[in-house]
Assembly symmetry: C2
Homo-oligomer: 598 residues x 2
Amino acid sequence: MYKAPVEEIAFTLKHVAGLAPALEGGHLGELTDDLVDAILSEAGRFATEEVAPLAEIGDRQGARLVDGAVKMPDGWPALYKAWAEGGWNSLTASPEFGGQGLPHMLHVAALEMWNSGSMAFAIGPTLTIGAIEALAAHGSDHLKSTYLPKMVSGEWMGSMNLTEPHAGSDLGVMKTRAERRDDGTYRLFGQKIFITYGEHDFTDNIVHLVLARLPDAPAGTRGISLFLVPKFLVNDDGSLGPRNDAHCHSIEHKLGIHGSPTCTMIYGDGRFGDEPGAIGWLVGEENRGLACMFTMMNNARLAVGMQGVAIAEAATQKAIAYAKERTQGKAPGWHGSGQGSGQGSGMSPIIEHPDVARMLLTMKVLTQGARAITYACAHAVDMSHGAEAKHWAERASLLTPIAKSFATDAGVDVASLGVQVHGGMGFIEETGAARLYRDARIAPIYEGTNGIQAIDLVTRKLPLSDGDHLRGFIAELREIAARAGQANAPALGETASRLDAAIADLEAASEWLLAALAEGRQAEALAGATPYQRLFGLVLTGAYLAKGALADGGDGRNGERAALCRFAAENIIGETAALRDRVVSGAGSLEAARVVLG
Amino acid sequence: MYKAPVEEIAFTLKHVAGLAPALEGGHLGELTDDLVDAILSEAGRFATEEVAPLAEIGDRQGARLVDGAVKMPDGWPALYKAWAEGGWNSLTASPEFGGQGLPHMLHVAALEMWNSGSMAFAIGPTLTIGAIEALAAHGSDHLKSTYLPKMVSGEWMGSMNLTEPHAGSDLGVMKTRAERRDDGTYRLFGQKIFITYGEHDFTDNIVHLVLARLPDAPAGTRGISLFLVPKFLVNDDGSLGPRNDAHCHSIEHKLGIHGSPTCTMIYGDGRFGDEPGAIGWLVGEENRGLACMFTMMNNARLAVGMQGVAIAEAATQKAIAYAKERTQGKAPGWHGSGQGSGQGSGMSPIIEHPDVARMLLTMKVLTQGARAITYACAHAVDMSHGAEAKHWAERASLLTPIAKSFATDAGVDVASLGVQVHGGMGFIEETGAARLYRDARIAPIYEGTNGIQAIDLVTRKLPLSDGDHLRGFIAELREIAARAGQANAPALGETASRLDAAIADLEAASEWLLAALAEGRQAEALAGATPYQRLFGLVLTGAYLAKGALADGGDGRNGERAALCRFAAENIIGETAALRDRVVSGAGSLEAARVVLG
């Protein structure tokens, strides 16, 4: 069973991702180190003791559509109420609406733990927090005062309605339409698909944020507006009024996150209300809906990245526990008496087999690398509200696609290794490893596929400040490698030289891409976008593990961090050379091979 | 929907894996090129038209245990009967018992297609064929005449009973016991788990082959005997007699291959018969049961490899079809009008996006590489019955772990990419991509995990003929690279030099491992076993794709083969350098990092 790794999370936040210097520098208001620890500890307790035990029933029962209403798994509505009452929904929200105004770093750390407990559960509240952000940033005072307090308290949840059957990542072609009414409201008509938590029985009301097009809107993405469409209209006194003309038509039968209802939502077909049309209120300005969404898009992407970290952590814990208990064969050099299931048989716990140890260590490296990258991204978001705002905003922009893609790929890869470590038991659903493998698979897809993240990274993030932001970042990474060299610690092995080589690969690939973009060779640059994104993530993994090992001075844990860092340097990040090669010389053969695809 | 790639399969068999020269050299008896084509064509038709359409219902309904009997999915019993009546069960069996005595190459090609149609269906008959092999090689005349004709015809199916709760890969610790009776029969008592098709309603009788231990047997693997235990006893006239004391206690709730019943079998608990004990007959000699199993273990491993190829092929076909139909965004340089779902919208089919093309081409390369390796392995099996038997037996031995592991890893990786290409639709079960991702995941685990394959490869296969067999193989691969260089074809790009470099990596890693083994550094060698196995598979992929490209002279398809070969050389096999590095210098950091695992 999952146990929140609170200590590891706190260390990574503070000593790798930048929380400790930010606290010391007074960048985070009145937040103290003790308060950080207290929050992490309680979030971890909730994830471990309350969320995780309900993951399996959520997967098995799933969300069920009965007569147009979604019934959530047994125990989940109570779990949600406990979560909201714990104040977790209001962590980052503004105190103006009842929130606690805490930094984003704490939010992502808590998100990680809840998602490790149950990704299907944690995704619902996460979306509400996104809706709160959008509304707080762009809603009118009337909308904010009507909806935000109850959303921040968790009494009502939110949902985000973007996708349509032919408009996934490309929102410009959406068809849902909104008509103006004389009273300042709008009527919405259309169908949205893949709406996470579009309908459920956690709360009495659901606040849908819906993208739609006005009749006279320009074509494409500049003709999209954002509307607030509540499931139940709200009376002036705040009580619930009549049902709005919006309902869940069906829910998807999915590979994973079964407890999370993925809804097809119908707006304005006349099922409810006097006249057809779901009543909505404009959020922000007409035709500026996408800009409103972009406010929170980066945070949503990072939140999905946290799901990758979360699954990877849960899968790693489960696999290590199994590998210590399960005995099979005799590992080279094994002279122990055998503990666990094969006690006395002379068989080794499978963790003793070098191949199993390699899998588990690879899982550890990917998990901790993904955690460090996502936390560093959250740190940049936090810092972008203070001095050096431009620098930190660029850092957050640059790190977001890497955090989303690297962490979600890590989630899939680590969950798959976790199944493998379990052998035949991994394929049996009761063990739980298979659930993680299924749940993990959506994260590289939603909130912009990892391929789209790579396009974003190469075409929009690399060129920030004409590439100088990236160059500055590379200089920081070199500094870490240099410090690893200066440490001259045998436990770090070849960390410094291996990391230097990987950073050189990153630099070479980056400069090649910047030149290709500058020369208008867009297709060539995009051909290498995914290998480049992976290369960047591996370099950051190596660098952040080294930073952690260097920060953890002298005591026993130092030995562990140094050892894992060395393993990463000598066994994992060596892929960067081949990845660089794909970036700088792979496009020609890719283009030529298109003929194979017919 | 899957369509069997008969032409591609025939080409790979004949011009890459060695069937054409074997036919020409008269090594395969009376088999002709025309007959090969006819068999492949009909096997492909059966897979495409009969098996594939029933895959989805098999997954959805699954096998169900009702009152101790397993009810198979709707339509499956009739499908099985059609399959057996088509003579497919008897392809490789000896004509003495009604078989057709055809080469193993044709069997694996047919296996690939049936598994692409439905892996959950195809695995059942595959196990029967394994049981037939074991019985034919080791059974008494009485057992053979009683059981083989009906098993070869498909009237009865077989099952293989090895695994027990604490004896997975390590069979030496099994506990099922067999007691001698005066009439020459035995009584078996025990529990077997993970028994594929241990119970079903395809056939009236099921012939279980069961490993068990005699009371006076030596400890460990040298005290295991093999028994034939029919579900129903067989009267002297061949009719079915009373029920034997063997039954299915439960079936597993699995991640994938839902249509395949995975049974816990109970032998001898007194549920059936006059006295407790399942009546069994010895196959082969007492305490020599594992030797009997090893007869067919290699073939079973190759058969699982075919499942990897099969899933990869099915996933690739599905993803390419989707990527041509689905439109989204505008690819660089896209000026088409848009076909498919977004026609007229100006959006590109997603196959135009370089990132999607990269995924699809990677899927193609892994699929075709895995196919070539598995077919080459089957070819070596066929040739091992003729002249140069030792050479070909060693080749088959060497290729088996690579075929099993590389193909099954490819199945998982390609199925995962297939989900990714489908975007959000890939996570919806109705699309079918998710089923392939689920089904694929067992193949790297059963019939010896891929980690066990790697141990086998390094410790038993590399040292064959003191490493000289391997060295001879490397020389053959170099010859292919040299021919690619001599071809001097622009379409091959840097194939020759890239392949040369990869082969050098293979050679360096191989010699390092041979030296480590010779010096008794077993743990170090095993630490690199999995990277080495992967390295070997990638080199073979590059070499076999080049061999195919070189064999396909002059016409239009030559362009396609050369282009895919070049993509593999310039975008895929470059990983070999990092893999070699892990083999030759990764063990130290792996060993040091064990401290992290606690």
